[in-house]
């Protein structure tokens, strides 16, 4: 090995080391998370449930020790279009009049944190990172325009309130608990009417009002067995499903007339 080549190797090695150190400084923390169950099956006796998310904030050796971490967990269910309608009094009766269409909004939406969001990050950061129910984008179609509106818009707040009433939207800023300064957990409650499909869980870690790192994981809710069979038959083979239901009605009626025959 010549002296020249040895020098070159040394310089490239040091360059690599520098990159690694820089990367380490940028990502001094890393999130490692796990969900208690990645696949929830909806069966005949399904009546809601709760998942548990566990996680740990891994610090690089030698990284500066921070006084405290903040966590925001956002769970988004399968997306759908929804219409919100408002009733008004017309000719003495209450009629649906005005309506807004919400495009591609999550069927389930939950925000969990370890303390109030105002304490975690500035209003500006909250908006930029879509933290909390008021900042998460809920796209509306207003005429020909698409976009979100101010959080206290009548339709937006009614939409969120109704979904909250069904347990499908929720925000709890005391749900994330730290077991040790770096080990945390939170429950993800799922109501009985939970939408079927893929769920995305976003975990964001903050310190001193700034986003340090984030990661995503997910789980899915599936109908299985009989429920799945009936639901997909109704959707994909409407005619056959209708005919079978009609036949079932005839059978039940016939059996009843035989069982309860008086003569």
């Amino acid at each position: 090995m010549t002296r020249h080549a040895a020098l070159r190797l040394l310089s490239s090695l040091s360059a690599l080391l520098l990159v690694a150190v820089l990367a380490g400084a940028a990502r001094a923390e890393q999130l490692i998370v796990s969900i208690s169950n990645n696949r929830i099956t909806v069966t005949t006796n399904y009546s809601g449930g709760e998942l548990v998310l566990f996680g740990s904030i891994e610090r690089e050796a030698g990284a500066a020790l921070r006084p405290g971490y903040d966590l925001v967990v956002t769970v988004r269910g399968p997306r759908a279009d929804m219409v919100t309608r408002r009733k008004e009094r017309k000719l003495g009766i209450w009629v649906n009049t005005d309506s807004r269409q919400f495009i591609n909004v999550p069927g389930y939406l939950a925000v969990f944190a370890n303390r109030p969001l105002e304490a975690i990050a500035s209003a500006d950061t909250q908006r930029r990172q879509q933290l909390g129910m008021n900042n998460i984008l809920l796209t509306q179609r207003v005429g020909a325009d698409y976009g979100d509106v101010v959080p206290d818009d009548a339709f937006r707040s009614a939409f969120v309130r109704l979904r909250e009433g069904q347990g499908l939207y929720r925000q709890d800023t005391a749900a994330v608990t730290f077991l040790t300064p770096t080990l945390f957990r939170t429950g993800i409650p799922l109501p009985a009417e939970v939408p079927i499909g893929a769920y995305e869980v976003e975990i964001q870690c903050f310190a001193d009002g700034a986003l340090l790192t984030k990661t995503t994981t997910g789980f899915e809710i599936v109908k299985v067995g009989f429920e799945q069979f009936v639901a997909s038959a109704a959707r994909n083979n409407g005619l056959a499903y209708g005919l079978v239901t009609a036949l079932m009605a005839l059978m039940t009626g016939w059996i009843a007339s035989v069982v309860f025959r008086k003569d």
Binding site: V42, T43, T44, N45, Y46, S47, P78, R79, A80, D81, M82, V83, T84, R85, R86, K87, E88, R89, G92, I93, W94, V95, N96, S99, Q101, I103, N104, G107, A158, F159, R161, L162, R163, A192, E193, K223, F226, E227, Q228, V230, A231, A234, G238, L239, Y241, G242, L243, T245, A246, M248, A249, L250, T252, G253, W254, A256, S257, F260, R261, K262
Partner: protein
Amino acid sequence: MQLYLPIADLPVNVLLILMMGAAVGFISGMFGIGGGFLMTPLLIFTGISPAVAVASVTSHMAASSFSGALSYWRRRALDPLLALILLCGGVLGTLLGVWFFTLMRSIGQLDLMIALSYVALLTTVGGLMVWEGMRAIMRANRGQPPMVKRTGSRNWIHAMPFKIRFKRSKIYLSVIPVVAIGLLIGFIGAVMGVGGGFILVPILIYLLRVPTSTVIGTSMVLTLFTMLIATVLHAVTNHLVDAVLALILMIGGVTGAQFGARAGQRIRSEQLRLLLGLLILAVGVRFGIELGIRPDELFTIRETGVSG
């Protein structure tokens, strides 16, 4: 016992639904009606969406009217020809009804339309029945004989052309009003999730002078076919028929109907009519009050489709 309904997408208490089916079945057996006008509102009350309730009750009505029609058939207490001609209108009416149902659903006025038709129809029919029942009871109390049926009297309906003879019912009648009535009942049934027996029976008796011996059996045949068609059409166009829900209702309903029929035989017929009239009127008035008072929640949400 909780059970998850696959189409309604919510868990319900099976015993509660069975009891509701049995209670409505009892009433329907007692009065010789389908009871859809009670079943649909009850389901809506338990949290099932009006659209799924209407669509699922149609198959429940098919089951109960089939068991009823079979027993009337054995006693030769139905008029096949009259039923067939009513059905010609009924099929067309059902098609129109399901089309109208789908249209109203797409413009977001289905719930209002269901409520409005309940108010209009139930208060009218209920009010007339209460009035007629009270007069009959007052006559009976004064010791007068029940009103003699004016079989000989004729009205404008009997002046229409295309007359045919209905042998089993012993009437000679134009087919035009028969088809028109079938059309109306089919339409109402598909839109409101009712069999329509509680409207059809009085119309056949008072307007067409069909004898009471064949009227209920014939009405059940029409209900059976319109409800079967409505079930299939609702399943094809709106995918809203919950077969699991329907099966629970059917089992409760056909059982309750047997006990109701026995109880009904012990009550005098004019009292029975008054009771039924009061019941129909009460349901109609309740829907009316609901439309008039300010709802607790002015907003509603409906999913319009899964986006990619």
